[in-house]
Symmetry: C2
Subunit: 322 residues, 2 copies
């Protein structure tokens, strides 16, 4: 916008941006009637049989973009790439089942790196009773790992982004911000928490916080056609966000609101459900915090004790891949 | 083997080779009891419900290795990457259903290239009633496309590589060799043929010819623990293999035996079944040829009318990815 473009005939992906690119692509896709949710949620939802829906998701991570193979141990990278997918299944209220692993690898890659990668992958898979059922390997200049994960959920029980209702309370698991200091490579995907919550409580909408709280709440609001007020004094700020703030010059709150890769669950439910859930701590070990409410009107507002006035949120841009 | 290695501590993928790498990896993989076939066939086979098994496969194609984005139209590349997966589902006797597309793209890639890629992808998907249900996009130095495809097959009816029986006839659809002259970008995945054949006839083993007839027959024999004799005079040699032979200095027969990317179906069945099938032309338009027999003993032998003597096959190496 506003900058000079030399090649007006043929804009590049960088010119267009990721959001516009996805919107452009999803228009023409062939989709059968059994597909309940295609693009636009944490996973696809497909009618499988009378009891279950099938969840499918894929996530590709690339050396130099999503991780640094030279600096980070290959087993931790592997755990992260699988955990990201596990988090997506968790965000639907599903049980993860089968994984396919597609690797692109330079031919001079040491075999021990591949061994270490698979050791981490298998550890994480076993921890969540996921079967690694196949995959392929290709020669490539950059190392990359593309993980496809399937899951199942009781029929019509997937918790979508689009289900938020006016008046719903907004809740989040764990603490937010500063994942770059370490937790982004070492997070616990909220699979058990999601199953415990969805078994006991009627959740209306859910998403995992991968791009940052405000960005992912924005996705949920857009899918639901709603607005929200966030109570800034209630945001659970991670200690790492406070440590990071000392270096970055930003506030810890801003890190909690906008940093990516927390992989916590952000969900909404009716106030009566939320009160019971909070009283019982959701029946889980992980902290759950009430951070705001869904509103009928569009837009996102911030409210704090110091300024009772609602403030239209300045847009904190989430991570754009192009 | 025999060459000097500088880094004995840490062999690279190129030192190890693809076959050894896969063998190394598949040992430790976690797999549940519902998984009937994990690694080692054209797709995974998983028990889904009382009527059906679920098939899953992934295939990644990379610019500069599997195709050339600068020289080949993006829609043809897209059709090929999906068709390769369709061929894998066909090789199991399955019906393709849902695809996930993961793309790695340089940020200076023209948007029109992405548009063209998706146009080809959607055309091919529609032709086979496949739904494109999701995917992701990443920034990468090389363009690549990772396609995950699911399919279904009647319970326990997937045709595996491992089912060949001594005395089975070996049959192949279509014609072989010379795909590099064009058909590798423009082949018809044998989905309809596979369904027509498996509905009417009891096939014991099947694989698609992606790495070359001899190599893929080798995979089938190894999985089945059998040997085979190939009747060289009966190999259906493609016109392209003959044209290629005029330039390459190899015989057309050698191209038919060893060129990759034919994507024809190679299958075995009892002689009584094969005779009926050949008489009825399998009930399909595509040519089917009887090219040999399965033997109890190991090894692959060639037989031709000029030399009635069986000859132990010299190994024609299939494509190795590292």
């Amino acid at each position: 916008m506003g900058k000079l473009k030399k090649k007006t005939d043929s804009p590049s992906l960088a010119d267009l941006g990721e959001t516009a690119l996805i919107a452009r692509i999803r228009k023409g896709l062939p989709v059968s009637r059994k597909v309940k949710v295609a693009i636009g949620d944490d996973t696809t939802v497909i009618q499988q049989d009378k009891q279950h829906d099938l969840l499918l998701t894929v996530d590709t991570s690339i050396d130099g973009i999503d991780f640094l193979l030279k600096e980070q141990p290959a087993d931790k990278i592997a755990k992260k790439v699988l955990a990201q997918n596990l988090s997506d299944i968790a965000a639907m209220g599903g049980v993860p089942e089968y994984a396919l692993i597609s690797l692109g690898m330079p031919s001079d890659l040491p075999v021990k790196t591949v061994d270490l990668f698979y050791r981490g992958l298998c550890q994480m898979a076993r921890r969540y009773q996921v079967s690694i059922v196949g995959g392929d390997m290709s020669r490539s200049r950059q190392f990359f790992a593309s993980v496809t994960l399937s899951g199942r959920v009781a029929r019509d029980k997937a918790v979508l982004r689009s289900g938020a209702k006016s008046g719903d309370w907004i809740l989040v698991t764990g603490q937010l911000g500063g994942s770059i200091l370490g937790s982004h490579l070492n997070f616990v995907p909220r699979v058990k928490e999601s199953l415990a919550l969805t078994r006991r409580y009627k959740l209306n909408a859910m998403i995992d916080v991968s791009d940052g709280l405000v960005t992912d709440l924005g996705h949920l609001l857009k899918a639901s056609g709603k607005g929200a007020v966030l109570r800034l004094d209630h945001i659970p700020i991670a200690p790492a966000a406070r440590r990071l703030a000392q270096k970055s010059g930003e506030t810890a709150l801003k890190h909690a609101l906008s940093d990516g890769e927390d992989f916590e669950l952000l969900f909404t439910c009716a106030p009566s459900v939320a009160r019971k859930l909070l009283k019982a701590k959701g029946g889980i070990q992980t902290r759950i915090t009430h951070i705001g409410e869904i509103m009928a009107g569009g837009g996102l507002f911030y409210q704090s004790s110091s300024t009772a006035k609602k403030v239209k949120a300045s847009k904190w841009q989430g991570y754009q891949h192009f």
